[in-house]
Amino acid sequence: MAAVVEMSNVTKTYGEGSSIVKALDGVDIRIKKGEFVAIVGASGSGKSTMMNLIGCLDRPTKGVVKVAGEDLSELNDKKLTSLRNYAIGFVFQSFFLLPKTDALDNVATPLFYRGVPAKEARFRAMEMLTKLGMEDRYSHQSTELSGGQQQRVAIARALVTEPSLILADEPTGALDSKTGKQVMDLFADLNDEGKTIVLITHDLDVAKRATRRITLKDGKVINDERDKK
């Protein structure tokens, strides 16, 4: 199966000279289509840096990162942005819905940026909100939704573009445990449908819901285990 994410000997450093920080240090991983991966590790271990690279938000200092077959170091800002739009569905810890924008347009926005006509974009957004059981909340602003509902809207926004992979950064971190479990159930269902999911978390219970766990420490992969099927 084709690799959605390929990292070969990836190093990412911040700063210069004596204050240089190696956030990632010689990381080699491949994530295949249909996998459900949790990236775990203590605070400062390099999880966010990894997410920025997988999410095409940043480029490595050394080594090669390929997402959906594209080498990030070879792309200019425009192509990198386009790759994010087509390949990645982001789900953030604090939901990050757009202010002053209702649920429907929040979900439709990635399609707007892609140039899909407004009418079609909203139609597809509505379909996705319906799939996630949010059809009666489409005209609500984020301030009028509960945390769990906001995260569903965010997941709908991540799914509506039919990305190669869903990239979720602590998606349950801001939710109570019951709502958090519902969101994890949703991810499990999506994975059963064949969606590739990469989840960043420091919560081991959450990580257990994934089928593969990559553990980072000081910027290095120290463990990579798969559930046996």
Partner: protein
């Protein structure tokens, strides 16, 4: 991203942040308001004068000598014979000391013939204009402009009183209303023949006013009179004529130029406040970009190109300045209406002016929106997302 969606977003923000948007727009509102009101003053005030000329002098042309021995009473006889010429009125002028019992001043004394009243139609404040005294060779009657009358400390009750021009006594028969006239300030009018006796040397005239039979024929008559007078004054080829002929259209042109100049001047002053308004927009937009760093990060993460972020913020600036412009136009026209009532000129909505004001406010929005919009579009997605 669709421009419509960006515009809708911009409107939503303006409504959601009413107070701030209002304050941001205030500069543009005041600028456009001033622009509309001041230009309407410039146009209203001058169009009054223009209307007067249109009604009065459209059939007239005036011949003036460039030296005080250029045009003569014999010229008048020939001019009167030209086709298309209806009435000819001649004047002479000289300076003299005029004294009343109370005061004394030097003033221009103009000798006018009996047709002057028909051709020029001066407005009378009190009394009457000079009566027809064609057959009286030494009628010592005088009409004063109101400013001259006040210099001489005369008032409405001074009609029929006696004043002296040089050492000769004249009877005041009327005082003019200066407000509507021009060039009449500080002048006195006496009969032509009397003037030849006391203040001017015959047969030389200072000006001849010709009234043609209709407006259309004015250019033709002007051309004919030019060649007639050149021939009579022995001026041939390249030699410069010793007279000038001015018709109402030239005067109207001149007033038009004054009007344009006034409009540009006042409009220019108002435009400065518009530019200041634009700086206000830029300032608030820069603050807004900072506050919305996170939002920009989210948009960039889910696939907004730099150009799309730029467009969004630019449209916001344009919508802000355009809405401000529209409010400014409405208030400006209301102010212009009341100013017209006050100044007693006609109030008219000028579509050109309105469109120009709106265009200019949009332009201001673009100019002062570009920098904040560029700042927003250049934010690094990773850092913008981390921004608290």
């Amino acid at each position: 991203m669709n421009i419509l969606i960006a515009a809708r977003l911009a409107f939503a923000r303006i409504i959601a942040t009413k107070t701030r948007s209002g304050l941001t727009m205030l500069g543009i509102i005041i600028g456009v308001m001033a622009l509309i009101a001041l230009v309407s003053v410039a146009q209203g005030a001058t169009s009054g004068i223009q209307d007067q000329f249109k009604g009065l002098g459209a059939r007239n042309l005036t011949i003036t000598g460039t030296t005080n021995q250029s045009i003569t009473v014999d010229d008048v006889i020939e001019i009167a014979r030209e086709p298309g010429v209806d009435i000819v009125s001649e004047t002479v002028s000289g300076r003299a000391t005029i004294s009343s019992n109370q005061a004394s001043t030097r003033a221009q004394v103009i000798g006018v013939d009996s047709d002057y009243i028909t051709v020029v139609d001066p407005d009378i404040f009190v009394g009457s204009f000079l009566p027809n005294v064609e057959n009286t060779k030494d009628a010592r009657l005088i009409v004063l402009s109101s400013s001259l009358a006040s210099d001489l400390e005369l008032d409405a009750y001074s009609i029929n009183s006696t004043i002296a021009v040089g050492s000769t006594e004249f009877t005041v028969v009327g005082i003019l209303d200066d407000a509507d006239g021009f060039g009449s300030q500080g002048s006195a009018y006496i009969p032509l023949d009397t003037a030849f006796k006391y203040v001017a040397v015959p047969p030389y005239l200072s000006s001849i006013t010709v009234q043609t039979i209709n407006e259309e024929i004015v250019p033709e008559v002007t051309a004919n009179l030019t060649s007639l007078l050149k021939a009579r004054h022995n001026i041939s080829g390249e030699r410069e004529a010793d007279f000038v002929i001015v018709d109402a259209s030239q005067l109207l042109d001149a007033i038009g130029t004054v009007q344009q100049f006034l409009s540009l001047l006042l409009g220019g002053i108002a435009s400065i406040s518009l530019v200041v308004g634009g700086i206000g927009i830029m300032n608030i937009m820069l603050v807004s970009v900072r506050e919305r760093t996170r939002e920009i990060g989210i948009r960039r993460a889910i696939g907004a190109q730099q150009s799309q972020i730029l467009t969004q913020f630019l449209i916001e600036a344009i919508v802000l300045s355009l809405v401000g412009g529209i409010i400014g136009v409405i208030i400006g026209e209301i102010v212009a209406y009341f100013l017209a009532q006050l100044g007693q000129w006609n109030f008219a909505l000028s579509p050109t002016m309105i469109l120009a004001s709106l265009g200019f406010s949009m332009f201001i929005g673009v100019v002062f929106g570009v920098w904040p919009a560029r700042t927003a579009s250049k934010l690094k997605p990773v850092e913008a997302l981390r921004f608290e």
